[in-house]
């Protein structure tokens, strides 16, 4: 874990005042913007590159039957079989590879570190190989072992990226305790003792946890927006003026919601918490409020939101508090709810639109369509901010 040196006499540069690893990552993204488009990878090319990677790792088996996986809003994903010299399938693996740009810029090495660290705490995919700089795959990539399970009930429908999934009562009864327990377990993880060299810890008892997040997403907005948004600018100012102190930073998943966990259809046991690319260290209210975003909730018969399409908001908040022993501060929850709506709006209003416009992603048509969801997210912002002003 990298520890930042305090330099109280220096006026902090907002554009670079967050985790050093993430500053370098956004610098690299900015440097490659405007330098050409991205062509979706073909299975044959992926297969050849995978085999070169396997040789470089001294692996005897070969990649066979490489095929593209559906879903996913940010990474190219392929499934393949690892076949031994005898010709039998030894293992099924999943390749996640970065396009040039997408709705979020994240780091495969960092994602692999947190997955490896958290594995014994909550169910997570296990990492087989990492090609952090893309020397074998052409783009940064991570390969994990295949996990059985689904992200939604067999008979459920959903929109893109797990949005709009509706879970029935039977599955909800079994999944609610697991959803809460896993979130509590992530927040209780001893990150300081883990091998997380690409992560930095914001200082407890300061506003650093809040401001690092705000600075990161404000920079993304500045770098990626193709047009100005008075609302997002207003929101960034609002957040900065009210940045709260974080007393005890914890490990956060950063994208904890329905669609980002898998479960067994028969036993209804959660088999993996997925998509750790936005994990970071910060205030637990951030993860808790993320689940409240209306985009990730369904509605009950009375029109009330169901967190993760399974439980009323009160039941979720009480369930989290009871299990974690943490008291939820409504003011902090509100601030982080605004931050999360801001972050999700920036992804879609700025990064997604830029990637769709510039053709720097494997699914430009998808991003061009998905980016329309920023108006609903901005609607959440308006409700939250108007409520504050009233």
């Amino acid at each position: 874990m990298a520890q930042l040196e305090q330099k109280p006499d220096l006026a902090p540069d907002r554009r670079n005042n967050f985790e050093p690893h993430l500053v370098a990552m956004l610098d690299a993204k900015q440097a490659r913007q405007g330098k050409g488009g991205y062509k979706p990878r073909e299975a044959q090319d992926v297969s050849e590159r995978l085999n070169r990677l396997l040789v470089a790792h001294g692996v005897q088996q070969q990649a066979h039957n490489v095929r593209r996986m559906g879903g996913g809003a940010s990474k190219e994903q392929f499934l393949f079989d690892l076949v031994g010299p005898g010709g039998g399938t030894d293992e099924r693996l999943v390749l996640r590879m970065d396009p040039l740009e997408g709705i979020i810029e994240t780091c495969r090495a960092r994602e692999a570190q947190v997955i490896e660290a958290i594995g014994g705490t909550v169910p997570a995919p296990s990492v087989a190989f990492v090609d952090a700089d893309g020397r074998h795959m052409g783009q940064p990539a991570m390969i994990t072992r295949f996990v059985r399970g689904d992200t939604k009930p067999r008979d459920a429908t959903s929109g893109p990226s797990g949005v709009g999934i509706v879970i029935g009562e039977r599955a909800s009864v079994a999944l609610i305790p697991q959803y809460l327990n896993n979130l509590v377990a992530i927040h209780g993880f001893d990150f300081a003792a883990a091998a997380l060299s690409t992560y930095a810890e914001p200082q407890a008892g300061t506003t650093e946890a809040a401001l690092w997040q705000l600075n990161f997403w404000e920079r993304v907005l500045e770098d990626d927006a193709v047009e100005a948004s008075p609302l997002l600018t207003y929101t960034a100012c609002w957040l900065r003026e009210r940045a709260p102190v974080c007393t005890a930073p914890v490990l956060l998943h950063g994208d904890y919601r329905l669609g980002n966990f898998m479960f067994d259809q028969d036993t209804l046991e959660m088999t993996a918490v997925l998509d750790w690319e936005l994990a970071h260290i910060g205030d637990f209210h951030e993860d808790v409020s993320y689940s409240l975003e209306p985009l990730f909730c369904s509605r009950d018969a009375q029109g009330q939101p169901l967190v993760a399409s399974m439980m009323p908001v009160r039941a979720f908040l009480d369930g989290y508090s009871e299990r974690s022993g943490r008291e939820i501060d409504p003011k902090l929850l509100h601030w982080y709810h605004v931050l999360n709506s801001f972050k999700l709006s920036v992804m879609n209003f700025a990064s997604g639109v830029r990637a769709a416009r510039d053709g720097t992603n494997h699914q430009s048509a998808f991003l061009g369509f998905l980016s329309a969801c920023h108006v609903g997210l901005s609607g959440t912002l308006c409700r939250l901010l108007e409520g504050e002003a009233a």
């Binding site: 929109g159 948004s229 008075p230 997002l232 100012c237 003026e241 609903g376 002003a389």
Partner: protein
């Protein structure tokens, strides 16, 4: 002009729906997903096209009124005053023939002013700017939600009018 933009879009939709998409190998997951989204995007464009000019005028007109209210009595340091002057210049130089370009320029000016007043505006004007910008942003968000209602992402589509009703006032 014949064929009109609507007819040209319709013809593309026919070709995509009846010829191209059925010919895609169902095993090509990316092509199947992308083609469905292209179809949905083109259909949404076809619905929006007749209202595009009226919609952009609505947005531009509200942005102009908002901008004018923001710069009425500026009181603060150089950063805020410069941002207010830039908006005032936009208000005198707007191009009536391109409401969307006007809106984008005004939005940029309003965003710049929003940051500037945080730096060096006097408290009264600061509060006025913030209140006015939030109120405008919420009205603009309402219009955008109507514009993109057809995409199916809105958590409360039932509370929104349709695009024709939104634009009717401008067309009258």
């Amino acid at each position: 002009m014949t064929p009109s933009m609507e007819v040209r879009l319709q013809s593309v939709l026919h070709g995509l729906r009846d010829v191209v998409i059925p010919a895609i190998n169902p095993g090509e997951a990316l092509a199947v997903e992308q083609s469905g989204l292209i179809l949905a995007q083109l259909s949404m464009l076809l619905q929006q096209l007749p209202y595009a000019d009226a919609y952009h005028r609505l947005c531009r007109d509200d942005a102009r009124l908002t901008a004018a209210a923001l710069v009425q009595d500026p009181a603060g340091g150089p950063r805020s005053r410069n941002a207010a002057q830039a908006i005032a210049a936009l208000l005198t130089g707007a191009d009536a023939d391109d409401p969307h370009a006007d809106y984008l320029a005004l939005a940029e000016g309003i965003a710049t002013l929003t940051i500037a007043v945080t730096d060096d505006a006097e408290p009264g004007w600061h509060a006025h700017v913030k209140t006015t910008v939030l109120a405008f942003s919420c009205r603009q968000n309402h219009r955008e939600r109507v514009w993109f209602k057809g995409a199916g992402f809105d958590p409360d589509p039932g509370e929104l009018p349709d695009l024709a009703a939104l634009c009717r006032a401008v067309q009258a």
